[in-house]
């Protein structure tokens, strides 16, 4: 932003005419952008600040001085990790999330390949139905599902979640992978077919290696969706040691007589970290899966 005569250069670079002067751009672009980004990030900052404050500091400093930490402490994190069942909940969440994601990716790869490439009779209709399945929200399914889970003897077990999470993961992943498979040239498959490869070989040796970015996108998104899932986990799990992290934090850490804000925020911060770290490595895949699902 040190370039004071940017207009012509910017034109040739962007291929777009922008006649904005610098002060005007500050008012119309940078200030609104800064405000929006500030609002979007503030809750995370506040989560972090509260986590590392001592109890005294949390309630003695008010006003603007509360926005900074003067005596940082890791007491809240320590308490969370060693005196509550939080690590256990993290482990449960991880187990459910990873299993449900792999199960869904497997089912989705097969289904997407069949719909996109085998083009069996009625494949178009099935594709449309799968898209509609994604629009069925968990909040209208949890009551009948809770009865089914109970009858199947899965109540209060991680398997109740592993089997129900794919109901929203498979439609999404299938839809996404259909788009990826469509972009792989059909000629590659024809050559392999002529050379005598079976469909399974084609899927394993040609289509899958070529759609690794799509698989990563679908996997990351599925991972995030199941990590964030709440209503099924809240309904199907009752004992404290089987809970997933979001449910555990909300139902076990909130003690209504004393609000332990430091502990709660520590739980929120630690629970967000794994997903944030994963996200930071795969931002591009994540964005492409989100936008790809919408664009199709």
């Amino acid at each position: 932003m040190t370039n004071t005569t940017p207009d012509r250069n910017a034109d040739s670079r962007e291929g777009m005419v922008s006649l904005d002067s610098i002060p005007r751009k500050v008012v119309t672009v940078y200030i609104p952008l800064a405000i929006i980004v500030f609002v979007l990030l503030f809750p995370f900052y506040w989560m972090g600040v509260t986590t590392f404050k001592t109890h005294q500091e949390l309630y003695s400093n008010r006003g603007l001085s509360a926005l900074w930490i003067y005596e940082p402490t890791i007491q809240n994190v320590k308490h969370l990790l060693f005196e509550t069942e939080y690590p256990r909940w993290l482990w449960n969440t991880m187990f459910v999330t990873v299993t449900a994601t792999f199960l869904s990716i497997f089912c989705s790869v097969c289904a997407a390949y069949a719909i996109e490439r085998l083009r069996y009779k009625g494949a178009r209709t099935v594709g449309m139905l799968i898209f509609l399945a994604y629009l069925v929200p968990p909040s209208i399914l949890f009551i009948p599902l809770s009865i089914m889970v109970f009858k199947l003897g899965l109540f209060d077990s991680s398997w109740a979640l592993i089997l129900t999470y794919p109901t929203f993961l498979i439609p999404f992943c299938t839809w996404l992978l259909m788009g990826y498979f469509r972009s792989i040239p059909y000629e590659l498959e024809e050559c392999a077919l002529v050379d005598g490869a079976t469909r399974l070989q084609i899927l394993m040796k040609i289509v899958l290696p070529l759609s690794v970015p799509g698989l990563i996108s679908a996997g990351i998104f599925a991972f995030t969706l199941s990590w964030n899932e709440f209503i099924y986990a809240l309904t199907f799990i009752s004992s404290a040691e089987n809970k997933t992290m979001p449910v555990g934090v909300v139902t076990e850490l909130i003690t209504f007589d004393v609000y332990n804000w430091g502990g709660l925020m520590a739980g929120a911060l630690l629970g967000s970290l794994p997903i944030a770290i994963l996200y930071s490595f795969f931002v591009e895949h994540y964005v492409s899966s989100m936008t790809g699902a919408v664009k199709e």
Binding site: A10, R13, G15, M16, V17, S18, V29, L33, I36, L40, P43, F44, W46, M47, T50, R62, L64, A66, L67, C107, C110, A111, Y113, A114, L118, Y120, R124, V126, V136, P137, P138, S139, I140, L141, I143, P144, L145, S146, I147, M148, L163, P166, T167, P171, T174, R199, N228, F230, P246, V249, V250, W261, L264, M265, G267, G271, V287, M290, T291, V294
Partner: protein
Amino acid sequence: MVSITGSNDKSAATERISWLERLNSNRNLLGFLFMLPAALVLLVFLAYPLGLGVWLGFTDVKVGRPGHFIGFDNYEWLFQDDIFWLSVFNTFLYTSVASVIKFAIGLWLALLLNRNLPFKSFLRAIVLLPFIVPTVLSALAFWWIYDSQDSVISWTLIEMGLLDQPIDFLGNPNNARASVIAANIWRGIPFVAITLLAGLQTISPSLYEAATIDGANEWQRFRRITLPLLTPIIAVVMTFSVLFTFTDFQLIWVMTRGGPINATHLMATLSYQRAIIGGALGEGAAIAVAMIPFLLAAVLFSYFGLQRQKWQQGGRDD
């Protein structure tokens, strides 16, 4: 696949190969096998419960007690239930206000991010953070931000001399509604902004160049180029946004549990409260089923909106 072979042994082997080959060349059979895992999961855990839910709405099932078919009794009862109508009103208020503001700010943010900015991809990455962090956890952060005594917003405003006493964010019905809507908007903006940004990036700059040469101003370029070309994506994004806002559960459950005096109860939270906490599974299912017509209406609205757009642009119908 007829082969003439001498020994029995050899012909058996040929037969097996030919069976495999037939399977390999029969697309319908192969397609069926490939679809099996996904279809099984979706039929058992999605289609069946959907039907079961509709059926439960017509019964008086309670937790631990099988129910009987009672026809439309649940619905008749809900029809006279003020709390149910309040939850319907809340759901509509929540969905409409939150969706409109999410769309406005999201589109604005997308337009801002579409400019030539330094650190553009970094900005885009951090803008998405509210969307990827578990809703329950950010709702907890909002709960703390909205604390009746120690809210950071109240403290700051008091310090600046704009306020005498802390705002009771979640204790007063209208404040509570505004607060949960604000939290929902906060969470939804990134999704709208980033998907619309992806749509903006597909619009060819030469269109804007041509319009500028013809003397169009910034507003005309937005109104006549950006908006029409973005409409299909806007339709899809907003359908998703409306659907997920309408059926929202997590934010409300963490922050207010429907209170104060049911002022923030949505249909989903009321259904959970009646079915799981109150044990009236049939009645809860009826409330959940009552959401379906509205969801269908939203989907059909956007579907037909999209069709028209595709036809106008001469796109293929696939």
